[in-house]
């Protein structure tokens, strides 16, 4: 098992009612697997996940990227800075 620190921002944080949580995933889990687990753990996030990107350790990551124990996984809704 690996433990992943998940950070939630903006509409995702509001929907979840919290800014972060921890996920326990099987060894070798991908970003995609983490997203699925996140939608199961916090059902209020499910409707937003199709529009959500992810970053691992502060760098954008694709769905196939493999996570390792202790990674920081950020769930990133469409950005709107500027």
């Amino acid at each position: 098992m690996i433990r992943i620190h998940v950070k939630l921002f903006a509409i995702l944080r509001d929907a979840a009612g919290k800014p972060e949580l921890t996920l326990e995933l099987p060894d070798g889990a991908t970003v995609h697997a983490a997203a699925v687990a996140l939608g199961e753990e916090v059902p209020a996030l499910a409707e937003h996940l199709p529009h959500t990107g992810f970053a691992v350790n502060r760098t954008y990551a694709g769905p196939a990227q493999v996570l390792v124990d202790g990674d920081e996984l950020a769930a990133i809704p469409p950005v709107s800075g500027g």
Binding site: A10, H51, R58, S80, G81
Partner: protein, 146 residues
């Protein structure tokens, strides 16, 4: 991380345009372009007026991204100095949420680099705005293209 030659700042304090211009002033530059993004007055479909935008950032990642943007701009244009400042928190109507200043030897490059920085910042950097309405309502702005 090596010291950056650029002024990169993500901060809850009001942005100081004069300080950005002073930072990029350089004897080798003949041109400075400065872009300010300001909160524009709006009215929503319920007839409510916008009072402010409230900016949230994934600060560590956004700061890295802003440094990376500066590096990419320097690879494309002969930039003398560069300042890239963005607010977090509440930015009232008329106030700046972003200030970008770029100095270059010739003017076309200062315009092109400044435009690249704001265009790219808006689609890449992990910052989000929430619209705060006069009746206390609030709306996250999340363009529907991820």
């Amino acid at each position: 991380m090596p010291a950056s030659p650029d002024l990169i700042l993500l901060s809850p304090a009001p942005l100081d345009c004069s300080a950005a211009v002073a930072f990029v002033t350089d004897p080798a530059a003949g041109a400075i372009d400065v872009f300010l993004g300001t909160t524009r007055a709006e009215r929503n479909t319920a007839g409510q007026e916008l009072t402010a935008l409230d900016y949230e950032a994934y600060v560590d990642m956004a700061t890295n991204q802003m440094r990376d943007l500066a590096t990419r701009a320097r690879a494309k244009w002969p930039i003398c100095r560069l300042a890239l400042l963005h607010r977090t928190g509440r930015v009232a109507v008329g106030e700046p949420s972003v200030v970008i200043a770029v100095s270059t030897p010739h003017r076309a490059d200062s315009f092109a680099a400044c435009k690249f920085l704001i265009d790219t910042l808006k689609v890449e950097v992990t910052i989000w705005k929430k619209e705060l309405w006069h009746d206390g309502g609030a709306t996250w702005v999340h363009p529907k293209t991820t």
